[in-house]
Amino acid sequence: MFPAHRRTIFKIGGTSLLLAALLALCVLLALALGPTRQDLGALISALIEGPSAPGLPAAILWEIRFPRAVAACLAGAALSLGGLVFQALLRNPLAEPYILGVSGGSAVGAILGFMAGLSRFPGVSALAFAGGMTTLAVVLFLRPGSNPLRGDSLLLAGVMVNAFCSALIMFLVAVAEDARLHSILFWLMGDLSGTTPEHLPLLAGTLLPCFAVLLAMARPLNLLLLGEETAMTMGVNVRAAATLLLITTSLMVSATVCSIGLVGFVGLVVPHILRSLLGPDHRTLVPACILGGAAFLVLCDLLARSVPDLGEIPAGVVTALIGAPLFILLLQRAGR
C-alpha cells in the first residue's frame, strides 16, 4: 500500500484526473451533439482547423456550441464551488450559492435591464452584476459585527433579502411588456443560449482567479469546519479568511448569474454528491467541484437543448429534474 503521506496527493491527483477525463468527454459530446445533426467528420476537422475554419459546421461549432460549452464549464464549476464554500463557511449542508441574496439582487438588476431594452451583453449583465453586489453589501451591512459568520443571522439576512427581491421580481414580471417577458422568464430559469464568444474572456477572467483563490483556501476551509474558535486556535485568521471567502465566492456567483441567469441545483447537489463519494477534505473537493460541476452543467445543458420539437428548455429545469432525484437518492444512501 502507498505510504500515508503519498495517499493524499494520489487521491487529489487521481480524482482530478478522472473528473477531468469525464469533463473532456462531456465537452466533446456537447460539441458533437445539438438540435441539428451535423456530420461528425466535418465537426472534427472544424475543431482541428480552429475558429477561422470556413463552412457551416465550423460556424455552428465555433460560434454556437463552443462558447456555450465553455460557459457551461465555467458556470458549472463556479456554482458548485459556490455551494461548497458556503456549505463550509456557514456549516450548513443546505447552503447553496444563492443563499446570501446574490440571486435576488442580480435578478432584479437583470429584469430592469431587459425592460429597458438592453441587450444581454453588456447591458443586462452589468445591471445584474450591480444588483448582486448591492444585495451582498446589504446583507453584510445588516449583519454587523467583527465576525461576519456568527450564528445564523447571516443566513437569515440572506433569506430575507432574497424574499424581498422575489416580491420585487414578481411585481416587475407582472408589469413587464409581453414582448420582454419571455426573455425575462428564460433568464430567470437559466439561459445559456445567449453566450457569444465575446462573453468568454470577461467571464473566464473573472472566474479563473476566483478558482485559484479557493484552491489555495482549501486547508482553511477544512479548519473552519471544526468551528471558528478551534480554527482560530489552529492559526487561522478567521475574520480575514471568512471575508476573503465570502467576497471571492460572491463575486464568482454574481459573475456567473449575470452571464447565464439563475441555474439552480448545481450548487446544492454537486458538492453533496462529491462529498459523499470523496469525503469532506476540501483539498480534494475544491478541484473535484470545479471539474465535476463543469461536467454536470455541460451535460444538463446538452440535454436542455436537444429536446426535439420543443426547441430549447431552460437549463435550470434540467438541473432540477436531474438534481432533485439524485439528491434524494443520496439522502437515502446516507440514511442507511
Binding site: L19, T36, P197, P287, E312
Partner: protein, 317 residues
C-alpha cells in the same frame, strides 16, 4: 503541485481568447444590394434570395400571401397559416429563436419582426454572416408598408402592389361606410381573459376599432392595460369583442369570459362576440379581414361587401 483543475482552466482560457481574437467569422460578401429595412437599419441583402427564414408567424403569412412561399426554408413556431406553412422546419418560438437551427438551414436572408424578436438573436445571426431584414408591421399602414418592402426584397413587386391595393380599397370602403353611419358605438376589446387585458391608444387594435367606426373605451397611454371585472362593468361598453384561439385550449377561456359579462347591457343586446385571435394577433395580410369582422360587429346595420384579397399562386421561384 499543480492542481489539475487549474491546468484545464488555463487551456479553456487560451482557447476562448483564440476564438475572441479570430472571431467575427464573416461570410464572403454576397452579391447583393444595400437597403434600409423598415426599422431604419442598413442591410445587405442578396439580389435573389432563395432560402429565407421567417422569424414570426405574421411574416410567414406575408411571404405566402405574396406567392413566395417556396422561398421559405424555415419559420418560427406557430407559423400555421396557410396550411403549406405547417410543413416548414421549425426554428423555435419567435421570442427565443434557436440560432443553431436557423444557421443549420443555411439561409441567405432572415426576416425579423421588430416587436417580438430579441435584438440579441438578430445580432447573433448577423455575426454568422446571415443578413437580417427587420419589418415593423404596426397597424394597417405598417402591414401595407411591410408587404411593399417584402415585394421588393423577394421579387414580388407586382403581387405586392395588387395585394396592397386590395387592402387599401377594402379599408377605405369600410371607413367610408362607418363614417356615414353617424354613430360611434363604445367598444371593449378583450385580448386576455385572465388577467383581463385590453388595448390602449398606441396599439393597432385601437387603430382598427377607430377605422371600423367605434370608440375604444380603453383608449389611453397604457398600451395593454389590465383591468379588473368591476372596471369593465363600470365602463359599460355597447360592444364587446373577445379574442380566442378557435378550437384551441383557449376556447374554454373565451366561454368563461362570456359568462362573466352576463351583467353587461351588451350581453342582453347580443353584442358580445368571440373572434379568431390569429386574425387580430398577427400584423399580417389578414389584418384587413380582422378589420372587416370588427366593422360588422360594431356596425351590424351596415351592408358591407366582403373584402376579397387576391389569391396569388405560389411561384416556384
Amino acid at each position: 503541485m499543480r492542481m489539475r483543475g487549474e491546468g484545464s482552466g488555463s487551456a479553456l482560457l487560451a482557447a476562448a481568447a483564440a476564438v475572441f481574437a479570430v472571431c467575427l467569422w464573416e461570410a464572403a460578401p454576397a452579391a447583393g444590394r444595400t437597403v434600409v429595412d423598415q426599422t431604419g437599419r442598413q442591410v445587405t441583402v442578396p439580389d435573389r434570395p432563395c432560402r429565407v427564414v421567417a422569424l414570426a408567424p405574421s411574416i410567414t403569412e406575408m411571404v405566402f400571401a405574396l406567392g413566395k412561399g417556396a422561398l421559405l426554408a424555415g419559420a418560427t413556431a406557430f407559423s400555421d397559416f396557410p396550411e403549406e406553412a405547417l410543413g416548414l422546419p421549425a426554428v423555435g418560438p419567435y421570442v427565443h429563436p434557436d440560432i443553431e437551427r436557423i444557421a443549420a438551414l443555411s439561409p441567405d436572408l432572415c426576416l425579423a419582426i421588430r416587436d417580438g424578436n430579441p435584438l440579441d438573436s438578430v445580432k447573433r445571426l448577423e455575426r454568422l454572416g446571415i443578413p437580417v431584414y427587420a419589418l415593423d408591421p404596426r397597424g394597417l399602414d405598417g402591414v401595407i408598408q411591410a408587404l411593399e418592402n417584402l415585394g421588393g426584397l423577394l421579387g414580388a413587386g407586382e403581387e405586392a402592389a395588387g395585394l396592397t391595393a386590395a387592402i387599401r380599397t377594402c379599408r377605405d370602403r369600410i371607413v367610408e361606410a362607418a363614417a356615414a353611419s353617424g354613430t360611434r358605438p363604445r367598444v371593449f376589446f378583450q385580448v386576455g381573459v385572465s388577467p383581463i387585458v385590453s388595448a390602449g391608444s398606441g396599439t393597432f387594435i385601437h387603430e382598427l376599432i377607430t377605422l371600423a367606426g367605434g370608440e375604444n373605451v380603453t383608449a389611453g397611454p397604457v398600451p395593454w392595460p389590465r383591468l379588473n371585472a368591476e372596471q369593465v362593468l363600470a365602463l359599460n361598453p355597447e360592444v364587446v369583442i373577445i379574442t380566442s384561439m378557435s378550437g384551441g385550449p383557449n376556447q374554454g377561456e373565451a366561454l368563461q369570459a362570456l359568462e362573466r359579462w352576463r351583467a353587461l347591457s351588451a350581453a342582453e343586446a347580443g353584442r358580445i362576440h368571440v373572434a379568431e385571435a390569429a386574425l387580430f394577433d398577427r400584423p399580417g395580410p389578414r389584418l384587413i379581414l380582422a378589420l372587416e369582422i370588427l366593422a360588422r360587429c360594431v356596425h351590424p346595420e351596415l351592408e358591407l361587401e366582403p373584402c376579397s384579397l387576391p389569391t396569388v399562386a405560389q411561384s416556384s421561384k
